[in-house]
Amino acid sequence: MEPTDDGLLRRMIAGDEEAFALLYRRKHPAIYRFALRMTRNVAMAEDVTQEVFMALIRDAKRFDPTRGTLGGFLFGIARNHLRKRWELERRFTHLAEDADESGTLSSAEAPAASSNGSHGQTTAGHFEFTAIENTARLRQAISTLPENYREIVVLCELEEMSYEEAASALGCPVGTVRSRLHRARAILLEKLRGVPPVRRSPAVTQ
């Protein structure tokens, strides 16, 4: 039976290096992916991952299991680090759609992105993600979402967190997570349709 996160954390606090290594191996991929998707910068994603676990080493007792999961706690730290970095480096606040600076991943360079070049836009004003659709355009669309929406898409859609877990990680109510995710998905669809993201007018009742 695999040890629980809490069990590993307790052992880690007691000085068990193996427990820390296990915890790191278990938790770091999601943190790294989150940082990478938020920044599209490999070096920064590595730094953020390292900082998150450094914070855990320094002050693991700050984690309160009654307030959420360890994963949510670590995502919260990662998010704070990212925000601090964004404050310092404004260029990452609104990543340009065609950002292709040194060290920044373009869609084609994205680690697992295929690049067959076809788009999913089929009929005018209608988006369909077909089997031949590559993920590059979707990745690009996510990377150009405003930060608040991007993190919610990454957490709830790509990391498959529940609304509750995401709310714990982001420090906001579940209702906010839900409404932000809905809005983020609507923006994504608008981007993928190829029309500028405008606020949708109230739907016409049939």
């Binding site: 290096e17 991929p29 790294y32 898409v153």
Partner: protein
């Protein structure tokens, strides 16, 4: 979602729950079926549903593609180094705290010992009188050399000015000279001048001499050994004649 179930499904309601249709545990089954039924009868909502499903598919594909992404091993290596460093540093920090605590405890014990050594009061003082064996007490912060506000010196001055008045009250020494708490012991009895003063009981108490009935306004005569710089070094109480 009972309130939602009762509401009729229309395009607005459909759009509201569209992005939760494929999310587990958010909508109840009846509401979901109602929304899907609506999409079957509404072309616009059917298209929205198709888009949302396409987006879900794309996001799942993206998540699957990135599932194997990990930080490079050097990050883990750096973290393990930090972990070991902290593990080594923590016992040292604990040890230094313990040493500091021991040092503080030793200092307190030493201070208490010195206090007891220099302040050996031996029980109650006879009522209405100054102790026959005045002893050295704690230094009083208000007693400073060459300070005009010093109660001893102030009284001494007044004593010298009104010496003729007080001379009647003060007669023979009642005790031997006893060094004052802050006195330089080597200079206590050497080279100092003996000055007879009249002190208030409060002033006497401030010198560390145990006095009962401090509020009593009657003055007390005493001899002080005063060094050249005017600092009282020792005190000797003078027996008072009862003038009544």
């Amino acid at each position: 979602m009972s309130r939602d179930e009762k509401m009729p499904m229309d395009c607005a309601r459909f759009e509201e729950i569209l992005h939760d249709l494929d999310r587990r545990g958010i909508l109840d089954r009846a509401l979901r079926e109602s929304a899907l039924a609506h999409a079957e009868s509404c072309g616009r909502c059917a298209r929205l549903l198709l888009e949302a499903e396409s987006l879900d598919f794309g996001l799942r594909t993206l998540a699957a593609q990135d599932a194997s992404l990990e930080a490079p091993p050097r990050v883990e290596a750096a973290l393990l180094r930090e972990f070991r460093r902290k593990k080594i540093a923590t016992p040292f920090r604990t040890l230094s705290w313990r040493l500091a605590a021991l040092g503080a405890a030793a200092a307190v014990i030493l201070a208490l010992g010195l206090l007891i050594y220099y302040k050996p009061w031996r029980g109650p003082i006879p009522q209405g009188n100054i102790a026959r064996n005045p002893v050295v007490a704690q230094p009083q912060p208000g007693v400073a050399p060459n300070n005009s506000t010093n109660p001893v010196q102030a009284s001494a001055v007044s004593g010298s000015q009104g010496g003729s008045e007080n001379a009647e009250a003060a007669t023979a020494p009642a005790t031997d000279f006893v060094p004052l708490p802050y006195a330089d012991r080597s200079a206590t009895l050497e080279g100092g001048a003996v000055v007879r003063v009249v002190l208030s009981r409060q002033a006497l108490a401030s010198l560390g001499v145990p006095v009962v009935d401090v509020e009593n306004g009657s003055p007390v005569a005493a001899d002080l050994i005063v060094t050249e710089d005017g600092t009282p070094q020792a005190i000797r109480l003078v027996a008072q004649e009862n003038t009544d």
